[in-house]
Each structure stands twice: as structure tokens, then as C-alpha cells.
Symmetry: C3
Subunit: 646 residues, 3 copies
């Protein structure tokens, strides 16, 4: 459990550096991320490197006893590079290059950029790879931010054709897999395949899905190139990347597989404003964020990180990039920090040390205001630093362990986006709602990929998962866990076609012998009653249940809403919050788990031997039973934290 | 009265064909539409035709006693053709070609495509024109689908200039007709005329309207080319095209004039979701469709079909293409089928035999599920097949006859779209609302073009009709019918200018001497009271009424809302549903028609000697008087049908 | 006080001209604007001028005793000119040229167009500059209409680089001022600078702001060129331009500095529909316009006009260009006319003499209908003409004088649009709301630029003003006035960075020693209570107040909402209508002004020795005290006007 901060020495007079470093240290920070946007200062002109300032900056930090998280600066190629290689710019769906002048203006498939990236990464890694203060690395910055995973460039098309050739072998195999006979879309060679964009009506869904898979693989390849260079020049230093919150445009599992640490950038207020939540929810949690949003991300990234995951950027105050940017309530920066640690974080690093008074992010708060006074977030960080000592003393560097797993999948997002069948079928939302229902019961959750080992789990929840690997049903059965399958599970083959025997497909149907013979999507002003228990929204699977399958709830028109076969339940729809919670509570009990509904706004996590309580409400919360507190007390103040040994 | 089905042998293993054909026949189907998207299988490479599979498929169908509706495959030109002639692709309003990869990726004005179409149509027509099982033809598929009537290509511009030259003769005549002196838009030659797109503010309205007329004429010309080829090679077989529901982007009367049968594709649920209806209406008729929507289309296409019109594609279950896709209630596929026959259909053909498990439409239901079991729609079709026999026995191949006409016009849609004056002035909506009011009174309606003979009608309703032919007023007067004219009738000349003596123009003003001296459009949250009778919405004409014109209702500010001169009424606004119904009821009574409000959700049609009752409600409906039933009984079940001799 | 009209002889048969002129004169009109769209008639082919028709038209007007406002026809370059110089067309943000076919299809930076404009302006000015009937000039028409200030053309880029070079001197100075070190956006030379458009995420805010400044300066330069030509050839004739209502895309103060008369085009109903107002407000003032909207514009343009400002185009009935176009209530054309005069107008000129029956604006009413009968607006204009005589007799050509100033700034609009921090932070709205609150208290208001002399004012209101000139605080203090500063005042430097000591910046902080250490923007469904007095919306500044600063109101969480230091108040948020009015009332009282809330819909203005009362309501208004009336009486009818000597 450490604190860190993001710092941009290049933004400030060198005269301030030493004081900055000293104040960081005094605050309790000991990791400092630098240089991820500094290319134009490192290499102001082609081939002319200016290391001096950076050498000095690192030395100042090192001298203050700080450890550096060194970054490759590839998220912001400088103007001279773009002018030399205009093909670096990604191409939008409108066929136009996206211009220089902000960041991430590069195409993952551009050969020029791949080469330029190798060069600058090698230069930086050679320079600082063995510097004693450089203890960690970060590749690039927020892959995919601002919708930059997919580019429609000639270079991407070229590589996509190769990718398809590799995947399908022959054009006939592709034609068969996709079903291009439909609408005479058959190809005679891979060279006839175009970008799946700009068509008269929707392009072929498998074409689109494969393009998303390809684009994701391009990110993997690009990151791996950087990791390889860093490892070659900087042995023993863990390599990280800072992922984004609930970001789904590439397969994070595959990128993380090449890293040592998965980190993510946590901005709970911006996320609330920009995600799918209703306006009433947005005003309810306006200045705290949704009580499950950061947690969900913590659990996602914990699951894919070899070393304890980090929050690489923690919101320290109001941000600048949401449509509206409220100020966090007093206590929230501390609460968010502890929430990260409760979920297993190894480090919480605040973004940024000091608010910059210029350029695009000048309205983004830091730990310090632009006039260099400690801001509210800075004060709270210093509190956290002291509390860390108490907790470490009580419990050491413990880990999170739970019996509940939720499956989270990236291709599911792409597939449902490409082929939604109902305009608001938003996979991340539904996965989050399942997660939130589990958390509202006081359960700790592992978020796992569909190919993760399942042993040891007592309850496994599967949000709508269209493509199910062949061995998944068998592994679910072997786990012995209570299983909940969401609607549309197994509804597609890997080629985005309907399974031969209809959903949920052969494998799942062996677990629970049902046949989804019809589906319907429901517009937002339509719901369906589920017995007297609640309401269905968005979607209905029409289920034909074989003998032995128990119908646990029905729609008003008599079609099954919840069916069960042994320990496996299949939900034919997406239910309201209360009904979902009720179902999960029953399943948790069947799994022998200790679950009970928490008051709204209260969340509990366990790490090592300690229990962490978080109060998102505007009123105090009294912890029911007498406990021994490390931090806080039994009356948890609004936006407060309590940590105790149960 | 026949049943048909759309079938894609190329999508399925040849081993399934024989069983498919036998099951179709057994179900009561005897017409099978094929091949409209099969170009890449017919001509896999340039000039290399592969007829063998199609020969065999037709033979299998023929051997089962089925009649084939053969299609030209021009809606989906294959990739190799596009690569050879990229100018085939239509150009969007953004100046970019719309890409290959779905369907309808062709420009009606492309000379390359015209030639390629002639070639493939000739090849198909030569091959199958005299095949004994090929009993009907369909040209192309759904002209204009996915917004493909208008293209902004150089080829279109070239032909548009010729079209203008033909229409106006001299550039001076065009300048005068359009009024290009306004804003110095004068042209010195036809070659100076550009596409009416991308201008700084709105392009000249007459320029835009003429471009729409031109684009419509291009569809007519393209279809006629196909019809001519088919007729040359396939004598005695009726030629059809499958139009779309409430589609208005070309003049259907002109295309239909070259055909033997007008057919249309009926998807009541998708239409409800995608059309203008309020969310409350969308949820009210969620799984039945609006009670007047299919009927309106039946009456539109009956009016332009030389032989009895068909439903070429009938929704058999949930579809895939609306934003949300609900499942039809049990009985609706049967109800829709009978509704078509009640309105005079010669054939109802379901789309499609079996749901395809791949590509864009994999979520579109068929009569059979992808695992080849009969779906609900298939079961209902088989019921219809048996009922047809009873009805034919009772009444033969009868026809529809009515005394009520509603004028429906395509240019009106374009004109009001180009020059709305109020942002929600949506012509199809207002025409539909008038039609719906008539149907709610139990009246059968002929939907007619403005140049149709009017003799024999007792009541003629004219929704807002901006351009009135010179002889229309005379023909209305000669008909002796009671006439209702909507607002904005006669508000424009054929050149989209204001008539010299102001609306409703000289001709109409002879029928009813009024002068519309001012107009106003009303935003959605504004209505105006009409006496104590109801409310006006969207629009007001300010009327100066000459002596002898009777003011039958007024707005609160004293301006006339309804005026009458003899048998002609002019409505100054678009009224709410109740007031519209009340007005039409009074007019119908004046016309001596038997009209009375039906309960909501109940509709009645008459064909030959029989009366058809349709119950769109969730509750049973009891037919008031004792009658002799051919199908059903006096208590009509929810989503039920009754057919009786009155 | 004169009446005028806009007239297009080229639209009508020459046979009508004489009668038109005679009827204008008889109506009381004596100024006629002509020729602003007549280029294609003046120069039908390159270099071939046709003056004859225009000579005759001017003579007809002159012979009727009318004075001509002659226009340069540059708003509508003819087709032949565009075909010769396609670079005249402006380039959109999408990189595509905006096409010929409407108006304003020119790029202010195009050298071809600058030259062509010089040529046509010189030709027109030479021809008519000394004509005795040509008494005024108008340059072009509505600069910037249809979003035409900014073009993304190569020509604009070229000139922008020069502009930057001139502003910053060296590229290092620019890099420092903008803070391009952020995200490695540093430039090595001015030639590396691109257009601030099409970037992956938002382009650099200072880059964008400077581009807006540059584009505004291009309008200034273009107008000045025309003014210089006119002055050279037409001595002693005042030169005007017709600005638009609440238009903010260029700095009107700078353009007006080159003119003799600032005029504007007043369309109160279209403005209400198209501006930010809530639907409830849009329906409330549907057929009158907002009671403060025209007034605000009058006060804006009065402030920048050397001679008395004009309304160059006055709405005479329904217009065509808003999404919905209602009809003004009876009396409104008269009311609007008198409102203009009450605010100091020298002339009210109606648009247009007669509604044109063709082209884009055929649904725009005139004083006469297309069939040449006097329309309602024409009747009301004739009433105004007679009333003018009475008022001139009573009070002569008097002027407006007031003690209240509101600061209005164009860069503020651009800056907040570029860098809003809250998506609905719309500067014109907030400035208007402050103005409206002042007007609701019966105060007359000068709208002034931030660099205007402040002497003589007793109350100065500053809506959110991000960039405050160095001497502003000093001038405020010196004025002795009561001052109200809106939130975000002084929040930015001229380079769009945060002031070193935080907002409100050094200068303002000397007046009122506060430090805005944090801000938050509030989504539309969020408000904050201000004591028990009202609600805050949109925005909150978090204020640290030094000793001596009085907190006059607080938010529920204790942060100051209103602070005061002596005569200077700073508002930390944008308050609801009632609270804003209450605050301003208190300040007005402190300033010794005679202020009191007026009934809703009633407005009062003073000019010379007379008081003007306007009743926007549907019910009569009784003027409280006995007065001596020049026009009207103590009971002011709905939509009525009364003018009296107090």
C-alpha cells in the first residue's frame, strides 16, 4: 500500500522541482510517474535528444527519496514527426485523417509509427532503464482514449487482410464462416475485402466483429513491442500500462498478459456523468460517484494484474473533461483511496501533483492548486498516508480472497454493439448491474475472464455472454458452484452466427436443457411483470424448457422468466434492481455464502484480515456489531471510512 | 387468395431443398419467391454464369407443385462488379461513395450499372423466362431502401442537367420558373447548375424539388428497363416489384404504371417502432402494430396495381431491423394475413421460409426457426391456408368496392420536406391520420392519386396537397361528392412558388372562395382551441372567406377554423383525433354513407359479399348483430378475426 | 425617427415600381434599402455591367421623394464568379467547400474574393456614390449569417499564420503563451501550425481562441475595405452594416468602429424559437417575442453606433427561417417599432415591402402580401408613421441617457464556448438574464464594451467576464459606481490560462480580495440552495474571502454565494430569476437609482423627456399614476404602447 503522484516537471520552472519533491515526500507519497507526454522536450527536433532536463528532474526526485514510474512518451508524437510521416494519423469512419493538435493522434497499424515508437522507446529505455530511481515503467498512456483503437486507414486494411488470411486460411473458409452468400457479399480473394464502414446499410456483422478483434490485436502487438524493448533495457523493473475505467474497445486481458502490473485511471465523478446512468442517478451520486463504479474497475484490473494492481491516476478534485464537472464532497478522495486498497491495490497515485494553469486540462484539479497551495485532495491524501501505516501495522500487505466470480468479456461488448437487436443493449451496463447487485449484498467479487480457472468459487454469475467457449459448460459443472446465466448467454457462435440447435448452444444446454426459440427486445418505456416479484426490461428470451428444468418465475403471458436445472439458473431477461438482488441473494444462500442486503450507499470489502466499510451517504452509518477499529469507529461519518478486524 | 413464401435455396444445403418444398406445399403455400439476392452465385466471376444450382432449385420447387416468383438480382451487385466499375456506388450528401458490403450499393444514374443490369436481367430472363414453373417476376428488391433513391454523383448531375433541359427548354425559362433572381442565383446555362447539396444555408427549394423529381424518374426508367427485358423474354408472366411500407422517396404511381402487380413488404411492428408515432402509441400497439398501418398500405398499393396487389413479404415473427424488435402476439400473423385479403390482396407471401443463422438478418424470424422447426408464424400461416378455402368457397375471388377516396401524393411529401415552414410538418403522418379517422368510422377507403377518376365517390378527403392540378377542382365538383380539403391545399404552384392570388389557388377558390392571407406553424407544445370542440396542432391557415362561405368553427382569436361552401369543406389546421373523426362523421353522413365510430382497436373491412372484423385489442369483442360466420364467431378473441356474410 | 423598407425591384415587373414607390411614401416610409442581393443583375456576366434597370429603379424611388440606402451586393457572388474562382467558397469544419446555391458562400480570407469585392464595390460606388437620392450605404448583408465567419481554408490558414506571427513575434513566445509543452504540442515554426480542427480530442483552447480572434479580424478587414471604397466615392453619406440579433461570432465593436451607423435586423419571434429559451418560455411569449430580447439588441447596437442606430430589418409578420414560425399578435409590429425608437433608434426599416412568392424566403411575410394587398404589418407601420409625427412634435429627436451599464463582450462568448467546463455555460444567455433582471426593475441600460468609459454610471453589472483588462478594476473603482461581478469574472488571462494567483486575478482581487480556489459546473437537474433566498444553477465558484470581505449569502454547504467589499459584489453562481432581480434591486437602491419590480410582461423605457410603456401581455395594463399622453392612454391594451411625458 503506497501513494504515488503524476508529475510533469517540464510544465514548471526548474526552480520549483526541489520543493515539489520534498513536499511529495512529506505528504507520504513515494512513487512519481513522469514523462508520458514529454516527447517534444526529449526530442525537440528529429534525432536531437535533450536528456539534460529529464536527467536533472529524475535526480531531484531520486534525491528526495522518491521512486520514479518512467513512461514511454508515445501517446503524443510531436508535430515534426507527423509532418514527416502523415500516415501516422489515424483515419476516422468518415475517411478523414484525425489531425495533430491534441493527443493519441496515431494509428496502431502505421508502419512509420511502429518504427518511430521503437526508436523513442529504445532511446528512453536505454537512457533510464538502469537508473536506480526508475523502479517501474508505464507504456504509452491510456491506450484507446478518445476512440482511437479503430482506424480506417490503408495500413490497417492491409494488415486486416493479413489477419483474416491468418485466421481463416482460405477465402472460401471466410465466406462460409461469415455467410457472405447473404446479399451476394461473397469475396473471391482476401484482396477484395474492404473496411467495414460507410456501407449503404449495416455492414456484415462478422466482418465488423473481426475488424474489432483485429484492431484489439493491433493494440496488443503495439504494447508488446514496447514491453519487449523496456524489458531488454531495464531488467527487474515491473512494466505497467494505465488502462481506463470501464473501457472496452480492446481486449484488456490480452494486453495485460504482457504486463507485470495492470493499473487504471479512476475518475468516479466524470464516469458517472459520462456513462449510461439516468439523470436521477447522476444527481443522486453527483459528488461521490456511484458506490460500485470504482470497485467494479478495481476488481476487473485486480483480476488481470500479476502484481497487485494500481490506481495510476486517482481523481483529486473536480475534473475538466465531463460534460459537467462537480466537486467531490469532503472525504471522497480519502474514501476512493481506501476503496482501492480494500480491493487489493498496491498503489494509489493521484493525478496530478499540481493543477496546470494552461492548455486543455487547465480545469483539472491536482493535489495542489495552480498557485501552489495544498488543495483539499492533497490534504486527504496526507491523511491516507498516515492511515496506511496503521493498516500495514495491523494487517501487512494482505490480499483479497472471495468465493464469488463474475465473468467479464470484451468481445461480448463488441458483438452486442455491432448486433444489438435492441438499441439499448449495452453490455457494460448489464454486467455492472449484476456486479452492483452482488456488492449490495455485501459480497466481494472476483471479475474474471471466461477462460479463467473456476475452482474454488461457490457462486459464478455470467452476464449476457454471447460466445461461450466449448469447455465452459464443463468447467462450470466441474466447479460445483451455483451458477447464474444471464439472457443471451450462448446466443452466438464465434463467427457471430446462431448456434445450430439455437441458443444457449449445445454446451450450456447440457447444463440446463433449454431452447431459446424466439427473442424480443423491449423499448425503454416497456416492461413486463415477472410474477408478483418485479419487472423485466430490455430483453426477453422465449424459453422452451425440457423435462427436469424447473420454472422458478414466469412472465404474465406464461413464458418462463427464470429457469433452473440443479445449481444452474438461466434468466430470460434483465430484471429490475430489486428482483436481481433477490435472485442473487437466494443463489448466494444456496451457495452457503454470507450475504445480506446492505443499506443503500453502504459498501463493505474485505482484504486480508480486515473489513473496510464505506459510507457514500450524506448521513452517518452505524456499524451494527461491536468491532475493533484500525481506522474510524462504529459511527461512520458521511463519505467516511472505517477499517476493523472482524 | 394465395399464400407464398420467400425462399433462399442458396443459403441452405441442397439436401434440404426437397423437404422444404414438400413442407411448403403441405402448409398451403403455392408461390415461392427466389433469387433476388443471388447474383454472386449466378455469376460468381465476370461472365462466368453458374445456372446449375438454380436450375435444380427451381426444378425441386416445380416438382413439388409450387409456382416460382423469379427475381432479377440487381439489388446486390457482387464485389467484382463494383471493383471493375466503382462509379456504380451511389454518392452520399457528404460527397463520399457509399461502400460495398451490404445491399443497394448502386446509383440509378450510373451508366455502367444500367448496362450491367441489362446484361444480368437479360441472362436471367432468357434462362427462365419460359420455364413452366416461373409464373411471376419481381424486378430488383425494394427500390429506394436504405435511402438510395437520391445519389449525388457526377453521373446523376449530368443526367439531371439533361432532365432540366427537357423540362424547361431554355435556361431563361428555368430562371423564371425557379425565381433565381433571388440571392443572385441566376444561371447562364444548364451546365452551371450543380447538385442542390452542401450549400451555406438551404439550397433553392425548386432546385431541390426538381432534383427529387428527377431522382424519382430515374427509378422509373431503371425499373422500366428491367420490365421491358422480362416482357421480351417471358411473355404472359405478370411482372411485379415489392414496394415498401409508407415509402415516399419516389413516385410509386409512375413505377407501378409499368408493372402488372404492385406488391409491398409488410412489417407492422418494425413500422410502428420506426415511424413518427409517440412513445405511448408505440407501447400501446407494441405487439400488434397500429390498427390502420397495414391497411393504409394495402389501400395504397391496391389502387396502383393492375392485377390484385400482393403482400410480397409478410412479417412472420420478430424482425431485426427496428431499434427495438418485439414479438407479435399470438394470432397476429393470421390477423395480418386476413387483413391483406380483406383489402383485396391476391397473395400473401411470408418472409422468409426459415430464419437464416448468419449475416445481417440472422435475427429476422421466418416461418421456421433456424433449427428447422415450424415457428409460431408458420403455424398461423397453415391456419390461414385452410380458412382461405372456406372463404373462397363462400365468396370466390371477389373485389373491394367503396365510395370513399383519400388522395395520396408523393410530390407532396417531397415538397413539405424541402419547404416545411414548421419543422414537424410530416405529410405521411397527416395523410395517415385522415385515413385512420375514416377507418375508425368503419369506412372502406380507396387511396387514389390526384389525377384518378373521381366518379362514383360520395366522399373525397384531401390531406394537405400543396400542388393541385389545373383540372382538379373541376373534377371534384363534377364528382358530386362531399369534399374535405386539408390545410395548405393548393398552397404552391408546380414550380414551388405561391399562387398569384394566394392559396388555395384559382381553381380551388372557385369551389370555395377563400383566400389564405397568412399562415403560422405551431411548435409541439402549442395548440389552439377550436370552439369547444377540440384542438388545432402544427399549423394554421388564416382565412379570409368570401360571402357565401360558411364558417363552421373558429379559433379562439376569431379566425375561421373550418369553412364550407356547399359540399366542400376546407380545414384551416390539423385537428386532434377526436375532432377529425367528428368532422369526417358529419361529412360521411352528409354523403349518405353508413358511418359510425368503432370501438378502439376494432376494424372492419368489406370485400365482395363478406365483412371482415379484426380485433387488435387484448380483450374479446362481441359483434353487435347476429350474422352468419364463415370464419370465427360473434365473440372475436383478442388478436382475432371474424368473417361473415352481412 | 424615420421609417424605411427593404425593397427588391429586380424581383418584380418594372410596371409595378412606380405604384410601389407611391404607396411607400403614402404609408409614411421615406428610406428604401436596395440591391444587396442584386449582383447577378448588375453584372450578369464577367465584366458586363447592366446598370440600366437599377438606374431606373433608383430614379423611380427618387421621384417619389424616397431616399435610398444603397448596398454592396457582396453577400451573393454570382455563379460565374464562383466557377472562375472556386477558392472563394468557404471550407467547413469537415474539410469540404460549402457550395454555391444560397448566400454568403465566400471565404473572408480568399484573395480572389477580396479582389472581386473591391471591383464590384468600386463599380457600384462609382455609379451611385453621388446620386442625390442615395443617402446611405450598407456594406454587404449580415456578416457571419449561417455560420460563415470561420472558414477552414488554405487561404485562412496562410493568413492565420501571419496573424500569429504578428501577435506573438516568435514561435517561442507563442509556445510559452499557449503552453504547448502540454501534450508535446510544441511548434518549431509558425509554418507548423495547422487549423484547430479535426483533432483526436479537443484542440488546444488558446489555438482555438486565437483562430476565432483571427476570423473576427478578417471580417473587420473585409468590411473596412468596403467602407474605404464607399467613402472614396460617396462623400458625406453615412455607411452602415446590418448586424444580426445576439450574434457573437465576430467582435462587433471592431467592425462598428469603421461605420457611421450600426444597424441590426430584428426578428423577435424567430429569435425566441431559435435561442436557448425553455419550451415553456417559447410558448409563453410565442407571438410577442421575449419582452427583453429586442431591447437588449437595441441597447447593444446603440452603444456602438456613432449616429443613432437603425433597425435595418424589422419583422413584419411570420418569418420562414425558424423551426416553427408563429404569427405576431395584432399590435406587435407597432410595439416593436416603438420599442426601437424608445431605445434611441433613428430609423425602423421593415423587411420587406412585399412577400416574394418564390425561392427560399417565399414564406417570409412583408408589409404587403404576394398578391399586393397591404398586410397587417403594413397597416401597423402606417399607424407608427402617424404617431412619429406626434412624438417628434412633443419631444424632437431626443436621445437615451441612463446611469446603468452592463458589460457585453464577444471574446467571452468564444472563450466559454471553447472551454466551457460545464456543457451549458452559454455566455449570451447569462448576459441576457442579467440584462433582463435590470429591465424588470424598470431600469434603462447602456450595454458597453469592457474598455468603455465608466464615468457617470451609478451601477455597473458585469456578466461572467473571463478576461479582464489590466486597467478595468481601476476604472471600476474610479467610477464610484455600485458594481456587480458575475461568476468566472477574471478567471482567465488573455492567453486563456488561469491567472497566477487564481481568479478573479490580481486586478479584481484588489477591489474585492477573494480567491476562487475551486469551481464546479452543475448539470441541468442540479441546483443548490442560497440561504432561504433562491437557487444557484450551472456553476459554483468556491470562494476564499479575505478579511473585510462580507459574505452576504451562503450555499447550504457553507461556501459563500455572494460576497461584498464596499461597493463591489461578486456572485459565486448564476442565480434564479427572482434572486437575481432581488440582488440587483438592492444594488440599484444602494446606487440611489429609482428601481422597482414591474409586473411581468410590462416594460418601460425613457428617451428624451418621454416615457414609453410596452405591454407584452394578453391583458390590459393600467399605468399607476396620472400622466400626460402623447400616444395611447393610461389603460394600455394588450400588445399596446403608451408614450407620455412624466
Amino acid at each position: 500500500m503506497r501513494l504515488g503522484v503524476c508529475y510533469y516537471p517540464e510544465h514548471w520552472p526548474e526552480s520549483m522541482w526541489k520543493d515539489d519533491a520534498a513536499r511529495m515526500k512529506a505528504l507520504g507519497i513515494d512513487r512519481v510517474r513522469i514523462a508520458e507526454f514529454a516527447w517534444s522536450r526529449i526530442e525537440p527536433s528529429p534525432g536531437e535528444y535533450n536528456w539534460a532536463w529529464l536527467d536533472r528532474a529524475i535526480d531531484v526526485l531520486a534525491n528526495a527519496g522518491l521512486k520514479v514510474v518512467m513512461c514511454t512518451p508515445t501517446a503524443t508524437p510531436p508535430k515534426w514527426l507527423i509532418d514527416r510521416h502523415p500516415d501516422i494519423l489515424p483515419i476516422g469512419a468518415d475517411g478523414r485523417p484525425r489531425a495533430f493538435g491534441s493527443r493519441r493522434h496515431y494509428d496502431f497499424s502505421s508502419p512509420s509509427y511502429f518504427e518511430a515508437s521503437q526508436k523513442i522507446c529504445t532511446a528512453v529505455a536505454e537512457r533510464y532503464g538502469k537508473h536506480p530511481a526508475v523502479a517501474f515503467w508505464q507504456t504509452d498512456n491510456e491506450f484507446g482514449c478518445h476512440n482511437t483503437v479503430v482506424s480506417y486507414s490503408p495500413a490497417a486494411l492491409q494488415r486486416f487482410r493479413e489477419w483474416l488470411k491468418h485466421r481463416y486460411g482460405t477465402i472460401d473458409a471466410l465466406n462460409t464462416a461469415w455467410g457472405t452468400v447473404f446479399w451476394s457479399m461473397e469475396f473471391r480473394s482476401f484482396d477484395e475485402i474492404d473496411l467495414p464502414v460507410g456501407t449503404v446499410t449495416e455492414a456484415h456483422p462478422t466482418h465488423r466483429l473481426d475488424y474489432r478483434r483485429f484492431a484489439s490485436d493491433e493494440v496488443v502487438r503495439y504494447n508488446r513491442m514496447q514491453v519487449d524493448i523496456i524489458r531488454a533495457h531495464s531488467p527487474q523493473r515491473p512494466v505497467a500500462h494505465n488502462f481506463m475505467q470501464l473501457f472496452t474497445e480492446f481486449d484488456h486481458y490480452k494486453v495485460a498478459a504482457d504486463l507485470d502490473i495492470a493499473t487504471w485511471d479512476s475518475y468516479p465523478l466524470g464516469a458517472l456523468e459520462e456513462q449510461w446512468f439516468d439523470p436521477s442517478i447522476k444527481s443522486k451520486w453527483l459528488r461521490t460517484g456511484h458506490p460500485d463504479f470504482a470497485s467494479f474497475n478495481h476488481d476487473v484490473y485486480r483480476g488481470m494484474s500479476k502484481l497487485p494492481f494500481w490506481v495510476m491516476e486517482q481523481q483529486p478534485g473536480p475534473v475538466n473533461w465531463a460534460h459537467w464537472n462537480p466537486a467531490p464532497l469532503p472525504g471522497m478522495v480519502r474514501l476512493w483511496s481506501w476503496e482501492a486498497f480494500a480491493h487489493g491495490a498496491g498503489c494509489v497515485s493521484y493525478f496530478r501533483w499540481r493543477q496546470a494553469p494552461f492548455a486543455q486540462e487547465q480545469m483539472h484539479a491536482g493535489l495542489n492548486t495552480p498557485d501552489n497551495r495544498l488543495d483539499m485532495g492533497g490534504v486527504e491524501a496526507s491523511v491516507v498516508a498516515k492511515e496506511i501505516e496503521q493498516v500495514l501495522e495491523a494487517d501487512g500487505e494482505s490480499t483479497v480472497s472471495t468465493k464469488v466470480a463474475l465473468v467479464w468479456d470484451y468481445e461480448a461488448k463488441w458483438l452486442f454493439e455491432i448486433h444489438p437487436q435492441g438499441a439499448d443493449f449495452h453490455y457494460p451496463r448489464f454486467a455492472f448491474e449484476y456486479y452492483s447487485a452482488l456488492r449490495s449484498l455485501g459480497l466481494d467479487v472476483d471479475v474474471i475472464p471466461v477462460d479463467a480457472p473456476l475452482d474454488g468459487y461457490k457462486m459464478i454469475v455470467v452476464p449476457p455472454l454471447p460466445v461461450v467457449p466449448a469447455d465452459f459448460a464443463g468447467r462450470l459443472a466441474a466447479s460445483g458452484a451455483q451458477v447464474v446465466l444471464g439472457p443471451r448467454t450462448g446466443s452466438k457462435t464465434v463467427d457471430l452466427t446462431i448456434p445450430a440447435a439455437l441458443p444457449p448452444g449445445e454446451g450450456i444446454a447440457k447444463l440446463i436443457p433449454i431452447r431459446v426459440w424466439r427473442v424480443e427486445s423491449m423499448r425503454p418505456n416497456v416492461t413486463e411483470k415477472v410474477d408478483q416479484r418485479g419487472e423485466a426490461r430490455h430483453w426477453r428470451d422465449f424459453i422452451e424448457a425440457s423435462n427436469g428444468v424447473q420454472v422458478e418465475a414466469s412472465f404474465a403471458d406464461g413464458h418462463p422468466a427464470i429457469v433452473r436445472s440443479g445449481s444452474v439458473r438461466y434468466l430470460a431477461s434483465l430484471f429490475d434492481e430489486t428482483l436481481t438482488q433477490e435472485i442473487f441473494l437466494n443463489v448466494a444462500k444456496a451457495a452457503g455464502l454470507n450475504a445480506a442486503p446492505l443499506p443503500e450507499g453502504i459498501r463493505i470489502s474485505r482484504r486480508g484480515g480486515l473489513t473496510y466499510v464505506f459510507n457514500y451517504n450524506a448521513t452517518p452509518y452505524r456499524i451494527p456489531a461491536a468491532v475493533s477499529f484500525i481506522v474510524g469507529q462504529d459511527e461512520v461519518e458521511p463519505q467516511g471510512v472505517a477499517i476493523y478486524r472482524a
